[in-house]
Amino acid sequence: MATGNFETTIGLEVHVEMQTNSKLMSPSPVHYGDKPNENTNVIDFGYPGVLPVANKGAIEFGMRAALALHATVSPFIRWDRKNYFYPDNPKAYQTTQSQTPLGTNGYLDVTLTDGTVKRVRIKEMHVEEDAGKNTHGADGYSYVDLNRQGTPLIEIVSEPDIASPEEAYAYLEQLRQAILFTGISEAKMQEGQMRADVNISIRPFGSSEYGTKVEMKNINSFNYVRNALIFEEKRQAEVLRSGGVIQQETRRYNEPTKSTILMRVKEGADDYRYFPEPDLAPITIDDAWIQKVADELPKSAGDRQRDYVSDLGIEAYDAEVLTQTLAMSDFYDATVTAGADAKRAANYLIGDVNAFMNKHQIELQDTQLTPVHLAGMIKLIEAGTISTKQAKQVFEAIMAGEEPESFAKKNGLVQISDPAILLGWITEVLDNNPQSIEDFKGGKDRATGYLIGQLMKMSKGQANPGVMNNMLLEELAKR
């Protein structure tokens, strides 16, 4: 995007925590929100003589991300140490892949607000360890929580293909969705499961060289990223217009003022003394392994939307809503597989189920609803066993974990379509209401309404209205 006479260049490095069972290099569990240092062992604490063992599942999750972003999976990876001292980094090095990233040369096709599609190239992706967390207490002490230490991350490094804060926002949103559909992470921003390092520079139009870039690290909100970039774009343009020079520096985004604040000027590159991790053997990734992971990779949101429209006859907009999360889309697929009518299943999920989730502020996987129960209810409706009105009660029940068919039976929520039973009721009602028959013959439509009301009362609401209506008209004609 242009700001005056300048064009903007943005590159993003996105870190996503991968939700493996155990950590990248130790058997400690990966779990958010537990008591400090509960999910740790001597390896996480960097005790003397302990050794890392690489988690194969984390490598496979990384491969999933690489495949989803069309990257080439490296046939040979080795681990490297990135050395620095900090209390949240107990070994004083982070295990990463600086020389042999797991994935290279990928891309993400980003749909922009005007509907055009922009391809953002992904330079490389690598698996590495997350750090622990330092907090600084009001008591003057600093506290270290190593629960997060060693959680596997996938770092996704884009090429500087992003030209505006809006594009950056769209890229992040769609990258998040792509990651969600690999099943490797829920990418919850508020839990820091997805964080972005942002690089931005501007240059006069037509200039062949990039401007000096400014870096902002660890922003865990897409809005903050956008705001920070909007501010930076303006700030840098003002500096250049007033004849100033952009310094290579690290800045911090400050939400209350929606501005960025200088943290430090970079004079040289940090020297992390990278070198091959001698405690771990290199890993060879053959085609069979890649294929196995590809086979396990869930279908992307885009592919699912296409299939919903073409195979199931779902409206494009509905297909988009159904694929906003992997959980919803998987739930929908399972419901259809369980025998539910595709359109009815879509309507329920987009309508009543979503409303339920919003009302109770919970995720789909935290409700008691199962695809089999939802499909069971829809089948009861389709078969005419229950009315759509009765279905409202059944819906409440299945949201509380009940099995739909037995619930309907137990509560007499059964529609009666048997002609023999219906005929008995119709005959009785007609015999008792000769005046209504007269009215009907005299052309008063209202009369049928009255008769149906009587029939419903008699059947305690269980008569199938469609069937009963047709039979009533037939019987009236006979009188």
Binding site: G49, N83, D271
Partner: protein, 488 residues
Amino acid sequence: MTINFFDNDLTSLHEKLVNKDITTVDLTQATIENIEKTDNELQAFLRTNSDEALLQAKKIDEQQNFSNILSGLPLALKDNLATNGIQTTGASHILEGFKPVYDATVVDKLSTVGAISVGKTNMDEFAMGGSTETSYYKKTANAWDHTKVPGGSSGGSAAAVAGGQVPFALGSDTGGSIRQPAAFNGIVGLKPTYGRVSRWGLFAMASSLDQVGPFTRTVKDNALVLNTIAGFDAKDSTSSNRDVPDFTSKLTGDVKGLKIAVPKEYFGEGIDPKVATTVKAAIAQLEAMGATVDEVSLPHTKYGVAAYYIIMSSEASSNLQRYDGVRYGFRADNVKNLEDLYIKTRSEGFGDEVKRRIMLGTFSLSAGAYDAFFKKAAKIRTLLIEDFNKVFANYDVIVGPTAPTVAYGLGEEIDDPTAMYLADVLTIPVNLAGLPGLSVNAGFVDGLPVGLQIIGKPFDEATVYQTGYAFEQASRLFEQRPNIAKKY
């Protein structure tokens, strides 16, 4: 009861336990007494753990399970092997008081079969040194001449075995730290093939070079200990999942037809002529027994020390960063902020040699130096491996001296790091190439033992032992005893 380990090898001790001639408690008690009698002069131990050892011995006696040859036998551990609940310091001030909550895998394997550790032995601080003089705590004497160094870095373990305090001990070898002290003390020491023995619980100096191995008085004893400590460990992904053979299988005394290569570089400049003569005589003995002996060349040997000191110090500089005073061990007082805590703790907690290597390694890995130092050293390492591969295409073992000299005087070289580093020239290439290397006594020069080094193909410890055993049985040098033996 007194038990003299000069008269009893592991097999003999095992039989005594099985036949109930002695109990495990007797044996443990006798070992503790042996140490009490002699450690004033040897100073091999940093700490003994008599109470725990006797408790364990009692259990073994109750169970009467002597299914492994090491069941009930006492041993000593180098102080860089983690022992659960027992102080382990790496002979460094920075780990003073540190009690691990886990056992090293080798410790676990030994205690599982009922072997009993009686204490932790002195060593160079974090295994950095060749004389055990860089220990923060004490200096250890050579078993043959107490004015001489015991070698290092596993000097305490070597002196304890050579001095008759324990029948066997474990050490670690990164550039010669088992073989050189074994040579200086006239005993048997093996650095196994890299990956043969788990490194879990070994306080890392240089991860790509470190190996744990046994010290014993005889080759057969050595093979018996390796039988128990070798094997794949799921906690060490650099450990090998190859089958562990019986390492005693080739101990026949026969070397007929064995093809021995003798590198001319191992008898070059800096090798004491008397040491060279002694080793050549030993090789001649093997030839007389039917082995074929040819001179070969390992042309890149001369670059080994330089490459080693870059790779070792680079890895060590990273491995030792964890000692920061935050979570365990020593922490400096009166610190102003985090950086001050790091600087003061590490300045006060580490000795000169450790600091020297951290600085050398930090420099070698730094952005401006990486290509010219670390990367180049890695290339030399590849060339050294190729040198060995070429020779092993035609030979079964490579034989030469273990160290260029016999043990030197305490205090003589400690202030000359370059001389100390050069003394590793014959052992270092074996670590860089990941090969098994054994030192056995080749004879004496001026009353001090000389080491014969036998280097094998990867994972072919059995042939290395075969060679050492044949020489040992023919020379009977293990029957010679230092004066300290008279104390028992």
